[in-house]
Amino acid sequence: MNATPRRSIDGRIVGAILVLLGGLGLREGRRLYVLRETLVAGAVVGDDTFPMIVGVALLVLGGYLVLTSPPPSARVELPRGAVRRQMLWSAATLVAYGFIVPWLGYTAGTAIASTALYRAMGDYRWPTAALLGAVTTAVLYLFFRVWLLQPLPSGLFGA
C-alpha cells in the first residue's frame, strides 16, 4: 500500500509536463505569429492568438502545480501482486494488438489479442480463453463488418 505524501509527486509530474506544454504552445504561437505577419498584413489576431493564450495559462498552472503540488484528497493505492501483473499483461497485449493488427488483419489479430486478454484479465485456461476470444472476434465482426458495414483492417491475409 503506497500512501500519498502531502506534497504529491503526481502534482509535480503533471505540473512539469504542463510547463513543457506551455513552452511548446508559446513556441508554436511565436512561429504562427511570424507567419501571420508575413501572410496576412494588418490582421490583429489569427491562428497564433489562442496557442499563445493557452501556452501562458499552461505555464502559470504548471508552475503553480510544481510549486504547491496539491495532493489528491483521498489516499491513492497502486495495484500490487496479481492485479498489477494482470494489468501489465493486459496493457502489453493491447500495445501488441496495435502493432500486429495491421500485419495479421482483423480476424487473426483480434483472435490472438482477445485470447491473451481473457487469459490475462480473467485467468481462464488457454482453451477457454481461446474459445471466448473466437466468440468475441466473431461477434465484433458481425457487428461492425456485417451490420454496420465498416471496413476492418485486412492485413497481409486480407481478412
Binding site: S8, A43, L65, S73, V83, S90, Y97, Y118, L152
Partner: protein, 503 residues
Amino acid sequence: MDVFPHLANGFVAALTPTNLFMAFVGSLLGTLVGVLPGLGPTAAIAILFPLTSVLTPAAAIIMLAGIYYGAMYGGSTTAILLNIPGEVASVPTCLDGYPMAQQGRGGVALGVAAIGSFIAGTFGVVILTFFAPVLADQALRFGPPEYFGLMVLAFTVVVSLSGASLARGLAMAMVGYLLALIGLGSATAEPRFVFGFEPLMSGVDLIPLVVGLFAVAEVFLGLEEARVAIAQKIHDVFPRWRDLRQAMPAILRGTGIGFLLGLLPGCAPGVTVFLAYDVEKKLARHPERFGKGAIEGVAAPESANNATSSAGFIPLLALGIPASAPLAILLGGLMVYGLQPGPLLFQKNPEFVWTIIASLYVGNVILLILNLPLVGMWVWLTRVPFGILGPAILLLSFVGAYSVRNSMFDVAVSLVCGFLGYWLRKYQWPLAPLLLAFILGPLLENNLIQSLSMSGGSPLIFVRRGLSLTLILGAIVLLCTSLVLVRYTSRRIRETTADELAL
C-alpha cells in the same frame, strides 16, 4: 415559436420505425452497459459512441440520448444491488438502496428508482419542450462576442467538473484546449502542433479520445476492484401502494430540486443528488432511518439525478453548454454531425431538435418498460465476471475507435489516452474538464478571433455589448454558485465514501 405543431412533427419523426428502433437499441445498450459494475453513463456513451458514427444525425443522437438515459437507469441497479456507484450521481442511492437490498427489498428499491426516474425524466422533458425555444428565440441577438460570452459561461462548468481541486480541473481543461488546437488553424489553414507528423494534420478525433479516457481507463480501474453481487432473487419489483405513497413526496421534491438546479449551466447531477438526499433527510420525521434502507433515500436522489439530466438538455440544446461529462460527449456527437448546439440550432435545424425532444419522451417510456419487467435480466448481468466483460469492452472500444476513420492512428490515440486516463483517474485528476475544453476549444477560439477582428483587437467589445456583458457577468455569478455547491458536494462525498469522485 409554436411549440405544439413542432412537437407533433417531432413525434411523427421520432416514431418512424428507424428512430423508434434507435431509441430502443440505445436504451437497451445504455442499460446493458450501465448495469455493468462500475460503468456509468460517461463510460457507456464512450464505449458505444463509435457505433453511432454510421447513422444519420437524428438517429445517432436519439441512440446516444437513449444510451445516456439507459445507463443512468442501469447505474441505479448496481448502486442498489452491489453498492457500486458507476458515477458520483449514484452515490446517495447506495446509502439506502443497498441496505434495502440486504433486507430483501432490492426489487422495491429498483422499482421506486425506475418510477422516480421516469416521472423526473418526463417532467424535465416537458419543461425542456416549452422553455428551450424561449431561450433559443434570442438567437438573432447572438454575434461572435455573445457566443464568446456563452463559451465563457460554459467554462464555469469546469468548476463543477473539477471535484475537490480547482487547480487540477483547470490544468486538465488547458490540456484539453491544447489538444483541440492540434491540426489545421481555422484562419490560415496552417498546421499547428503537427511537427511534420502527417496523421496529426486532421487533428485528434473526439471518439478515440473519449474511448481512451473513459472506456479503456475504466476497464483498468475495474480490474482493481473486487465486486460481489447480492445473490438474491429479485421479486416484487412493482412497489406496493404503501411504498409508492411513502416515496411520492420524495420523488416530487427530488424532481423539483434536480430540475431547478439542473437549469444552471455547471450544475451536474452529482451536485443535486446529494442536496435532494439531504433535504429529504432533514424533512423526515425519523431521519435515523436514513442510511438503513429508507425508501425516500432512494426515491429522492434517483429523481433528482434524472431531473437534472433532463434539465441539462436545455442549456445543451439552447445554449450549447453541457452540464456534465456525458452531455459533453453528446455535444461532441452533435458537432461530429456538423450541428452547432446553441441558439441558432432551433432556427437552422428545427426538425432535428424537435425529433430529439420527442424521442426523449419516447425513450423515457421505453426505459420504464425495459426496466421494470426485465429487472431480473439486468440483475443477472451484474453477475457476469469482469474477466469476460473487461476484454470484451476493450476490444469493442478499439474496433470502434478504428472504424470511425479506418485509422490505426486513432487506435493508438485511444490506447495512449487509456493509459493516461487510468493514471490521471488513479491520482484523482478530473478528466471531464479536459473533454469539455477539447470540445468547446475550437468554438471559443473562433469566436474570440472573430470578435477581436471586429473590434480591431480591443477586448472591450465583450463588455460594450449588453448581451455579451450579461453572459460574462452571469458566468461570474455561476462561478461563485458552483464553487459553493462543489465545496458542499465534495464534503458530502468524503463523508459518504471516504473517496474522491469526479462530479
